[in-house]
Symmetry: C2
Subunit: 222 residues, 2 copies
């Protein structure tokens, strides 16, 4: 019984790592679609979200079955609940990547992000990507210390978003209202992707230490 | 044992209803702060979010204890998992109301939302408010049919958001880039509040029927 529990939990954690990999690709591809106005890549991200939805649903069902069949307690219960919540974050990150790709598609054949915006967007995408990568390795290695670094990485994202507002609200902004609106929403989407990576890190800390991390760098709920 | 389980679950459900009431007030107040440039009300919403955070954490802890002590199965397990997820939605709705209030504060003493935007925002706020109210009563009455109506109400929100984009991307837009950016983000915040109300409804359907509602009107994960 306990062995089957461990096996099932490990398989579910592996599935999270797989889906997180798909999410990384989705965010990278959505960014490419956005800065190069590549319709094919945009469509791939948008249609590919169904696979992420499907797999996060599978993670949910497995967590549910673990709760129903194994009635875990203490650290094991913490892990299953954390897994359940991570599946939600992954689902949302996939949706947000699709939102980014939809802006690319909406403005095609124009490039949605003009030059100075594109530079910032690329940095946002890189920051988000490395945050998701950190969230994956911290989960795989049960590494609460590395997870704690995510809150710091998130400040970098906040800085980029603040720079973005400066750019699009400056007197030099020459790209009009439509591109300003697109940029503001894109910034919000990347910020939220990063927030979910932080939440995944917070959940790993919770699995390892049994305590939710506190402080202004951490989300109030995850 | 089973009686204490029922009691505890009912107390937790009541707490959700209480927090949902606080969220309704927060969204209403944030809207007032926004359309009347009322700094006092904005500050109240922003500082009041700590109370919502605290209570959603309590809901989480109670759900966790129910899982640990009572090892519920079948319908009861579904209910506890749904409660756990609803606490996350309520936390996010509180955050989003605070985001709205922060835009009001940022632009004070100016009114952040110019006249035609304010009219749409008021409608968005009313739609979101009635959706949260529906989510509360459906949870209280375990009414899957009323919950199903939330997906329809959400189309009204989508329509309002689409009208908003029309307005701010029209040639007649005379309020500049800053107000366009604020408006686009505000629209996104109200839309997400409505999405969370839909998700709460989806969870009630899941509690009552044991099946997650499917279709394009429902979120892929909740």
């Amino acid at each position: 019984m306990r062995d089957s529990y461990r096996d099932e939990l490990n398989a579910t954690t592996e599935l999270i790592v797989t889906v997180a990999g798909l999410v990384r690709t989705a965010v990278q591809d959505a960014t490419t679609a956005l800065v190069t106005a590549d319709l094919t890549v945009a469509e791939r991200v948008i249609s590919g979200d169904a696979r992420i939805d499907e797999l996060t649903k599978e993670i949910e069902q497995r967590s549910f079955q673990l709760l129903a069949r194994q009635a875990p307690v203490a650290g094991e219960l913490r892990t299953v609940v954390a897994v359940l919540r991570m599946s939600y974050s992954l689902d949302r990150m996939g949706d947000l990547a699709a939102h980014i790709a939809k802006i690319a598609r909406l403005r095609y054949p124009e490039v949605a992000a003009p030059e100075p915006v594109a530079d910032q967007i690329k940095q946002m995408a890189e920051t988000a990507d490395s945050m998701i990568a950190t969230a994956i390795t911290t989960l795989e290695n049960r590494d609460a210390e590395a997870a704690a670094g995510l809150a710091t990485a998130d400040s970098k994202m906040d800085e980029l978003r603040s720079d973005q507002f400066h750019l699009l609200l400056s007197d030099d902004w020459e790209y009009g209202v439509e591109k300003a609106v697109d940029t503001a929403l894109l910034g919000r989407y990347y910020e939220r992707i990063a927030d979910h990576a932080v939440a995944m890190g917070a959940r790993t800390i919770y699995i390892v230490t049994g305590e939710a991390p506190e402080g202004e760098n951490w989300p109030s709920s995850f």
